[in-house]
Symmetry: C2
Subunit: 339 residues, 2 copies
């Protein structure tokens, strides 16, 4: 078991932030100002049993801590993982991992006698933005993560919204078109089938058959097409690529107007690979959002890029789970640990 | 000024709940268990200045209090009104009233030295359901009010969600079809143009021209058609009326699936005139919602009728604004009054 160093002052308080991915798990120590003091990674090994994974994680984190010149006190462990549920503290049938139900609080509790909390990556990023990033000082905002899929985390009244079952914030699975594209979730027309790296690739192929624009992208097979190729083509002025960004932004803006009608956020903050597209994506998104917004919300909602360094954002987000709960003392997962 | 009676015990604590409508204002005294002890009404008089209105309201409320056999202590005044903003305590350009901006907290504060809070009717009903109605014990739910239009109030983490500008919870102005029906708000295809008393009348006329079903409703002019006529026709087995309910329910269910994806509520609670339709509306709504729900939310979300007596629900909701804040001590409007 790893306890905190007895003589450490509160200025040396750190949280251990852990981000479990399908192939790699990254972790690091983060202070209350959001400074990442040290970080490392281990392979996740999808087919290894969860208890062995958490043992390896502890060994890695312990080794990392020992490399510090100063002594630090670990005040909590935050974990983000696919399908992690903030309310229950469980990872529930994560995709790409052999684990079925893993009690994260219990697994971490074997090694650390400190508060533990867990949630999915988009929710963790939302708390990271609130404490250390673009949402500092905001009490109502939405984070949209734009990568292979579209994830989201909602903060209202200064609190993460997890809903009755812990799964709130699935804006990627709101419906653009009930007869639209097949989604990995089994439904049709989900927002993430249009607005995501995969979504814009699908849109390019839709444009290839439906428009007559000349384009370098016509020479690339569907399986080989990447967001980067579309972005590079757009930078060269490729009309088909530009139109793909325009259509993606329009759909994003239209659905954001629905999200705003629910939640009236101060800002929508974008995180992830697609954010590099910048104005190509967010100009049409902003225009379309304003066009579709209900009157009282017009010209109020900011669209902002993430304020977190992308490489370490998931560790910062995981750590923010703890720093936020230590600040507010309202964390459900905490009460569970303290019982 | 009306102060509370000095010798009243806490068991005689009451709130004054006020519901301002376009033509009539109802008010009453409600105890902490949600019992309406007495109620009355005054005409709103849309073209009268707001300060004169609030003077008349105070006179009416004072007379009502004097009719009590027991002495009661007024512990707060809750007001629901069109376009009332919980954050600012202001009524902002209410439709059908000549008032532009009215500071409800200041107007009520002229007569009562107790906490005052204000919000719109759907939000007040949501708090009423949480304290006294169908949402007792719930921390995450949505209230949908189905009358001439479609209003909504959202509770998450046990708190009313008003958003950054105080206007959150406008689900009636999420989009069903960007090229759809013109809405009074200036946009097209808003949910309330399909799902509301007005919406189902429009749907009947859409079916009159697009289907060949025989129907008594074909003999009624658009301006004369009412929800009650459609309901009565459906009760008689009129196929066109039944289809109108079916289509209305399907659209409601489809959009509820989007709301659930945002908020993961334990239940959606329906209030207002259309709730009398019962299974005619809510069976297709439930089926359509389940069909469109993202997997993790399926078979979890209850659709429930209001647990408040409709006649007095808006007074109970206005009172709940105060009882809820006295319970949680987090009301923003309160801090303003206490300054």
């Amino acid at each position: 078991m790893l306890f905190w160093q007895k003589d450490a002052g509160s200025q040396n308080d750190v949280t251990l932030g852990v981000s479990i991915g399908g192939t790699q798990t990254v972790f690091g120590y983060v202070d209350r100002k959001g400074r990442l003091l040290a970080n490392a990674a281990i392979p996740t090994i999808p087919h290894q049993a969860a208890d062995l994974f958490f043992e390896r994680l502890h060994q890695g984190a312990k080794t990392l801590l020992e490399s510090f010149h100063e002594k630090c006190k670990i005040v909590g462990v935050g974990v983000n993982a696919p399908n992690a549920n903030y309310h229950t503290g469980m990872i529930e049938s994560p995709p790409n991992l052999s684990w079925e139900y893993v009690d994260v609080l219990a697994e971490i509790g074997k090694y650390y006698h400190v508060p533990v909390a867990t949630t999915n990556e988009a929710n963790a990023i939302a708390l990271g933005e609130m404490l250390f990033g673009a949402a500092q000082g905001m009490k109502n905002f939405i984070v949209i993560t734009l990568g292979t899929g579209l994830g989201s985390g909602i903060v209202a009244n200064g609190e993460l919204i997890c809903g009755a079952d812990g799964n709130a914030g699935e804006i990627g699975h709101t419906t653009v078109d009930v007869n639209g594209r097949e989604c990995g979730c089994g439904r049709r027309g989900c927002l993430e089938t249009y607005v995501s790296a995969t979504g814009i690739c699908r849109t390019v192929h839709d444009l290839i058959c439906n428009s007559n624009d000349l384009s370098d992208l016509r020479n690339i097979r569907y399986e080989n097409l990447t967001f980067k190729m579309i972005y590079d083509a757009a930078q060269r002025g490729d009309r088909l690529a530009l139109q793909a960004f325009d259509e993606t932004g329009k759909i994003l803006g239209m659905k954001l107007a629905d999200s705003v009608a629910h939640l009236s956020p101060e800002a929508v903050i974008f995180f992830g690979g697609l954010v590099t597209a910048g104005d190509l994506l967010f100009n049409p998104a902003k225009q379309s959002m304003e066009e579709h917004l209900f009157g009282p919300f017009k010209n109020k909602v900011k669209l902002l890029p993430s304020g977190l360094e992308e490489l370490h954002a998931s560790i910062l987000g995981a750590s923010a789970l703890i720093w936020n709960d230590l600040k507010t003392h309202t964390g459900i997962s905490f009460r569970k640990v303290y019982q």
